[in-house]
Symmetry: C2
Subunit: 245 residues, 2 copies
DNA sequence: GTGTTTAATTATCACATGATAAACGATAGC
DNA sequence: GCTATCGTTTATCATGTGATAATTAAACAC
């Protein structure tokens, strides 16, 4: 008959102490980092509504210990968000996009070949959607960052690539076109990590096709869109009476 | 000083009865339908982890009443799923796709112009992702249905449109290409309903571009892919020694 | 009106949750 | 080896949860 003692490691112990609890004492900063890291994995699988006891079990510690390192569960969750979102962002992405020494198609390829591996993993994807469904501002802020530092720069660079000199804000057509490309790529990550319907999507073809689509549609649509925007701008600048005379 | 009586409707009541509770007695089938309908709205906003008391408050009934109509909370949730998923599916979608009397591009336009309005609403989208993150089989089954009744038929019809006569299963290239188009369209729904970053995406342009992309890439890629598949099939049919001689 | 049916209520259960306080014991400095 | 520190534990709290039983009252038949 085997003992059910949870501390029984299988090694024969001559003097069976009543409570040989083998707690590892870690330096506070190490422990905290470890907790956030493992909590990110845990919450990404179970959702943020999962209990702190289950979390603690998975972390290999007792539940009250969590509250020594984090004032509240929400506090821990916020640190998880910060780790996942802020920790993954690479400033090189924007630089790749804005590097005018190379053609736009190459820049987009390079960018997505760095961006996709960074976020196409189960943990990032799931936390992104958990937070998104909650309507959390950290998620909205991430999307703002995607728009302001990635997608709008792409649209601006595209104007330059097309030889358009225009300082007016990006039109909705231009912006929608970038979102379309981005969405087509991003959806591959959803299929892979959220749906899990495929072992691993070959997103190289998807990448090529999405970028092709953008480059092609952009050259068709954007010159006209920009021209329309400029015409509207001129019209606005002319005083009302000018139209009548 | 105003009374705080929850039943106070504002009408002056001469004989102030101690508990004039105004409960409406509904026919069981009506009540049940009403509960499922409102629960779908509630859970789509709050997530399925939200409490039954909060739900009951929103429904305008007491919490135990829920358990008179549903054996458990999970039972109610399953009825919500069924309502949202099964209730929205339209058999006409597959028929539109398979109508060989019309060109593929038109069929795809018609299909998506019916499909998008059916699922591009906050309730459907959110419940879809809540269920997806939970890894529920009802969600996986929905995706199987999308694949088997919508996307694979599109790939098959595309072969016909391209004049290819081939009974071999759809290759991964063909399937990935349809998923790419579908994802580009679907992502517009995510932006609109999950991100809520735009008031209303003008998904007409997105639709046109996505379908164009598919038609164009398909005509480029699919004939070769099918030819390769057939060659591989022939090779497999030939006995091993045949390759050596 | 009176009585019967049963939809909806109030009161309550056992259990799980986030969080706190007190006790314990692994490690570092001497 | 002894002691002080503080990382980690056990024990516990108040509250919230899904679910049940007993009670009340709205609607219908006569």
């Amino acid at each position: 008959m085997k003992t059910n003692d949870p501390a029984d490691t299988g090694e024969p112990q001559a003097t069976a102490k009543p409570n040989p609890r083998r707690t590892v004492r870690m330096a506070p900063e190490d422990r905290k980092r470890d907790l956030v890291e493992k909590a990110a994995n845990f919450f990404s699988e179970e959702g943020f509504e999962a209990g702190t006891r289950q979390l603690a079990r998975q972390l290999g510690v007792t539940q009250p210990l969590i509250f020594r390192y984090f004032a509240s569960k929400d506090d821990l969750i916020n640190e998880v968000y910060r780790k996942v979102y802020v920790g993954q962002w690479q400033d090189g992405w924007n630089r790749t996009i804005c590097n005018r020494g190379r053609p736009m198609g190459d820049r987009l390829h390079d960018f997505y070949r760095s961006y996709c591996p960074a976020i196409f993993n189960r943990r990032w994807m799931r936390i992104f959607f958990f937070a998104g469904l909650k309507g959390l501002d950290i998620n909205a802020r991430y999307l703002d960052k995607v728009r302001d530092e990635l997608l709008l720069p792409i649209a601006s660079e595209m104007r330059v690539e097309l030889g358009l000199h225009c300082d007016l804000p990006i039109t909705s057509e231009e912006s929608e076109l970038v979102w379309l490309m981005h969405g087509a790529v991003f959806y591959q990550g959803i299929r892979e990590q959220i749906y899990r319907s495929v072992d691993a999507v070959d997103y190289d073809m998807a990448l090529n096709a999405s970028i092709d689509l953008y480059l092609q549609k952009a050259s068709q649509v954007i010159p006209d869109a920009v021209a329309r925007a400029e015409a509207a701008q001129v019209q606005k600048a002319v005083p009302r009476l000018g139209l009548i005379t």
